[in-house]
Symmetry: D2
Subunit: 271 residues, 4 copies
């Protein structure tokens, strides 16, 4: 189980979510309280939007708690929209290319969850990618592959529909191949303007997702676990939901996997 | 709290203690059961004796559980005497120079424990070192400094006496400077022929130390925590003890800090 | 341009080729004399055969000249057959999974050279792999892919024929796709009993390959560049050659890419 | 020989000096043209001033040319005053703590040069530090030690005088101890408002230092080597000079080592 936090609002120093609070990501990486695995020592990453359309990114394979660079960057960088992630590997070796957030063009993506029998689904999933996206795959995780498939299925056009198609594809693929159909998926992603998050699982055991307003900024924070003990402030987002944080504030919608084949993606593969 | 294991006997693949058993060091690094800190993700190291008098060593700052090199080396290297350590930092940054075991000439040393107020004792402790040993200090940990001081105080001549003088020095120094006198020290060290271990604390809360015979080799294993649930096999070494594993088998002695100033060391400093 | 050295003979400390001579691999990694690129600072690796059928391996992404672990391991480990490599990246990021030697089962492989337009050949080359070999690919280099394809085409059955088929496949694939047909390939590989090397290029500009007897051991050393200035000792292996170092000494054969489709490989892909 | 670049002016993306020009620092790290050592693969670092008084910093031990984090940060971060450094180690292992720039409070410092016989001067130099500065030393380089000594001798009060005292101290110390008196020192340092640089050597062989105006920003760039072939733009700063880049533009002064003992520093040591 990984941990992550994402923010959209007035520019905020990354350290406010990454290292400062009592239950900051770095603290959580050492000793999570609601998590199933004891430790998140398999690397970390941050992606933040600044003056350019595409985000900056810093990732490394050390435990987050022992990385001086992360502390200095989180203290120095202020951003109106950023993602931060600490990793507990479920698959894919400990290397930078496997650390979240993943970035492609202006998009960033990070994930907490898993796909059952991924080792058997990986190759057919990769075969769905266009050549450009295939070449863009530098790691070995299921998370990066879900992100690239969402790009394939129209992330730029309709982000939540593309993500729904991606999840639906994985479920159908697992069923077709006679594998266990189990997807647990709590993810955040952004194009630098809007921040999206999804909580979904085939078995109703999706990793948790919480939202809280940040009083001082008028913005919102989305997290895999509350960052402090102010239990009133944190609202649990229910399983099967998508959160959209944009200029008009926060919006929570139903989220269900796409039920039909993504035509464009299939054509691309056929060609 | 760190974790360590040491072995002396017929040549044994390092993986037998490092990665194979149910409670191997690597497994312990992920989730320790008797330890106070949840995680040992701040690096690891192995030192083993082979055909040369001085040991080989491999250290790195990744968590032990995610290092492919460690798995390959532990599977390939067989040694009649080796030390292995996983680190949970109490002081000194996460970098290779701070990872145990420390090596100087033919000697190797690793440690689990702490010195209270070390930041105030560090400089006077370092000032006791000869120029050669001062220059040999490459890290910032209390553990490396205890090792170098023991070298200063005659580790080659009388290993246990030198270690006793070192501990005694720290206690007297803390008292003289009006600091808290608290040393917890569970360490193993070797010259490649004999394996020594010490369990000692000023407050009777020394980190644990266990010994077990290795049936297949006629050798012995010393560990900070039992490597499996065969509770009959593991004998707890009491606080205030030193263990000597040599050609004549295992010997357990009383261990108490040296009560008089180490004359030679002081002279060296004066010079 | 990478640098490598390989040895087969009586057990030799790795440091004799890796760090000791005037032109050792580590020295070469700093400042190569016959090479086109100034520096080999993109990682290194060693694979050696010991008491087990499969080799041990150590790889890291630091420059070889600054890695204390490498120096200690090369000084401690003695082996009758080993491969050592320093990397100057031509493609594939600087990460451990992209460092040579690559290992699969008992086989090890390392390479100096390049495939033109590899980014366009990569996907069809990967599609030729069986599921097991596809899953075994952890890096992004052309070198690892050539190794896995050789496994696919019968490396265990007939090592040189399998390698010839692999090279032939790449040439045909490039021609079919209308890409530049350019392969430069100077590689060494082994199953732990016999050491093989190949020097070949489509344009007669294959990276150099030299062989020299090791007087003290009765063994032979194969290198990308001579390890010292004793020019009489080093014999240049001509372009279009394969070297076999086995129990009967050294044998040099002609090497040419396989001219027909590797039937078994294709069937495997079809299935 | 290390390479560095520093900038003061209107906010500039770090990549303009670090990765963009034909002779950027990253390019220079691969293949320097005026340098004595072929390669700068022993790590790198950047320190930049933003909204806080103290600088942000990012350092790592990989070669600069292979670090994706550096490229992303240099592309994303814009700053009115920053320092960037690539390292070719002359002493001190390859580890983050030995990478420039060094930072203490609001001050940053980076250096290209060397002190002869430093291994014999190190301990007496370290003994001159106050306890706070002694504890702040985390690496083993001569460069970090020069920086901390300058802090000891009044860097905040009179930066150039403090640096002159530091150099003078090293020269006197070497003479007193009968060692070779050789200091080569081309350094840049800043408090976030003013950017200072010094070029000095006891033997008139100081590493080069160049300055150039940045047309678009009205600011200035200081570099160890010109960043492009526009030879008219770069002015060589002569040996024995200090450069001050402040609100009033650029000022070049004579620089000579301090000729009297720094009274305050000596008292601190005596206490």
């Amino acid at each position: 189980m990984c941990r992550w936090a994402a923010y959209r609002g007035k520019p905020l120093y990354l350290e406010e979510l990454v290292s400062s609070p009592a239950h900051s990501l770095i603290e959580q990486s050492h000793c999570a309280t609601r998590a199933k695995t004891a430790t998140n020592g398999d690397g970390f990453g941050i992606a933040w939007y600044g003056e350019r359309p595409e985000p900056g990114r810093y990732r490394d394979i050390l435990p987050a708690w022992s990385d001086c660079n992360l502390k200095s960057l989180a203290r120095q960088i202020r951003s109106p929209l950023f993602l931060a992630h600490v990793r507990a590997a479920t698959g894919g070796g400990t290397r930078r290319d496997n650390c979240h957030p993943f970035v492609h063009g202006v998009w960033s993506f990070m994930h907490n969850g898993q796909i059952a029998d991924f080792e058997h689904l990986r190759r057919p999933m990769e075969s769905m990618l266009d050549n450009d996206l295939y070449a863009a795959r530098t790691g070995a995780t299921d998370s990066e592959l879900l992100f690239l498939l969402a790009k394939q299925f129209g992330l730029e056009r309709d982000p939540l529909a593309a993500m729904a198609e991606t999840i639906g594809l994985v479920e159908r693929l697992a069923a077709q191949l006679g594998r266990k159909v189990l997807v647990r998926f709590t993810a955040a992603f952004s194009d630098g303007r809007t921040l999206y998050a999804v909580r979904y699982a085939t078995d109703l055991h999706a990793p948790t997702l919480y939202a809280a307003p940040m009083d001082r900024t008028g913005g919102y924070c989305l997290v895999s676990e509350p960052l402090n003990d102010d239990t009133d402030a944190w609202v649990e987002i229910p399983d099967g939901s998508a959160v959209v944080l944009g200029e008009d504030g926060i919006d929570v919608q139903l989220f269900a996997p796409g039920s039909h084949a993504p035509a464009k993606g299939n054509l691309a593969v056929a060609g």
